[in-house]
């Protein structure tokens, strides 16, 4: 367990010392600030636009971290051969993978927190009261990022970073359009197309389960049971994907 934490801590430090993260943070903050300017153009919708832009910035930031940083998380260690000096230490390949994932998850969590604080600060100046639904919305973004990180890690163990990013973006898009895909394929007259739709909905995670970003705008309440179900769904997918990635990594020759 200690080895996993040491690797996680090092991964956290690696990403936090990378300029990409700062670029991403600046982009997120600018997007949130842009909402102030856009809000001025609308009548009495300032808070709604700010919340919408704020959640979009946080969502995009978390997904970029999951997909782009996640795709190089293991690949870079293999390419630069740093993995060789790690795996000759008393740690297993699975522990290495879990440590790397936990490190990036901690960065994603911290990034969501930082951008959320900026958003909360702006909303406070607009005298917008904060509700529990904000946190539920943020938690949804984190769950989606965690699941997507599992997807990227899985692809990253056998594909190049570019392919891994492409596959993960594909899963991200299909994952958000899965309900529409199911709806339209079921309406199709072609049995093959209907079958394809069913198979896709089985093998691709439904990322709309975590889309709670508009709750605070429309003041909709999310039942706790649904939050717990979605958490279990995200964790099960992540565990499955990390286990599959670990199984591939265990078979690999390095160097």
């Amino acid at each position: 367990m200690k080895s996993i934490l040491v690797i996680a801590q090092n991964t956290y430090r690696e990403i936090f010392r990378d300029r990409i993260l700062y670029g991403l943070m600046v982009f997120g903050v600018l997007l949130i600030l842009l909402s102030l300017a856009l809000g001025e153009l609308s009548f009495s919708e300032q808070s709604r636009i700010t919340i919408n832009f704020g959640f979009t910035a946080i969502h995009i930031g978390a997904m970029i971290l999951s997909i782009f940083v996640g795709s190089t998380l293991v690949g870079r260690e293999i390419e630069k051969k740093t993995i060789m000096t790690l795996l000759v230490r008393p740690i297993s390949r699975t522990q290495f993978l879990i440590g790397k994932s936990l490190g990036l998850m901690a960065v994603i969590f911290a990034s969501i927190l930082i951008l959320a604080l900026v958003l909360f600060g702006i909303l406070a100046t607009l005298h917008q009261s904060l509700s529990w639904d904000f946190l539920v919305g943020l938690y949804g973004v984190f769950l989606e990022a965690m699941l997507l990180l599992g997807v990227t890690l899985f692809f990253g163990t056998f594909a190049s970073p570019i392919l891994s990013v492409s596959f993960s973006i594909g899963i991200f898009l299909i994952g958000h359009w899965l309900d529409s895909l199911k709806f339209f394929t079921e309406k199709s007259s072609s049995p093959a197309f209907r079958y394809l739709g069913r198979i896709t909905s089985q093998v691709v995670p439904n990322l709309e389960y975590f889309n709670w970003r508009t709750l605070s705008i429309y003041e909709t309440k999310m039942p706790l049971s649904q939050v717990l179900m979605a958490s279990a769904y995200a964790m099960a997918w992540s565990a499955l994907l990390v286990a599959a990635a670990a199984a591939i990594l265990r078979k690999r020759d390095f160097g």
Partner: protein
Amino acid sequence: MSILKIEKLNKSYVRGFIPKTYKVLHDVSFELPSRSVTGFLGGNGAGKTTTIKCLLGLAYPDSGEITFFDGQPLSENVKRRIGFLPERPYFYEYLTGVEFLRFYGQLSGTMKKNVLEDRINALLKRVDLFHAKDKRLREYSKGMVQKIGVAQALIHDPELVILDEPMSGLDPDGRFYLAEIIREAANEGRSVFFSSHLLPDAEALCQRLVILKSGTMTYQGPLDTFLQKMGEAAIITFLASGTKQTVRVETEADLQTELSKLIRQGASIEAVKKDRNLEQAFIKMGLRGDGT
């Protein structure tokens, strides 16, 4: 005590769009006694790095047995007793020297925090990097990276140190300094196993050799025995007609003949020096170059 024993190690790789199998190691077997400095030699592509990867669990052999410390297979406990420096190392350049060694020290297991901190400082002084301990590795020169790499291999006080081409790409100063560190490690009772294609360095450091050619082991044993086997060349320095001259002979018989001839001619023999070195022995064995 055998610190490492490899028996009938075979390894092949499958490469290419149309998969083709390339056999890299053929029944490689050798043994390292404890407290020895062993050079692992062979041309480029001879299979040195593949052997090292197999023995450290970084690549899976097709067949063969690898044991450490009198018959133990590679395990977490065995890994705690081994230090390793890969070829052309690239390290986490965002870490400072101290953070880098702390990271590997923590990963290696059981050292208490204060013991680890003391060891980090001692090693940084020993590899002459204490002045750069708070600099990030991206600011280190190639020689400094190699030195910190050796320090990470020694951070957990290992019994066996495996170095893959540690001298490669270093300037003469860097090679000299690294040779000193290897000597010190050996003097502390560690077994050192290092691959190299820089024969003068290997000759200066090793007591034993393991030599690979095209994935097949061609020699294992003491360095002296190898050199003796490989030839009896000598250089005769003599004075004739008031001028100093030298002549090189290849065999013991030639030496005797040449000496008799020179004495008969009235030359004054000044010195007879055996002229054998690893480089020449390699050329003689056809081991130089690409390992073929």
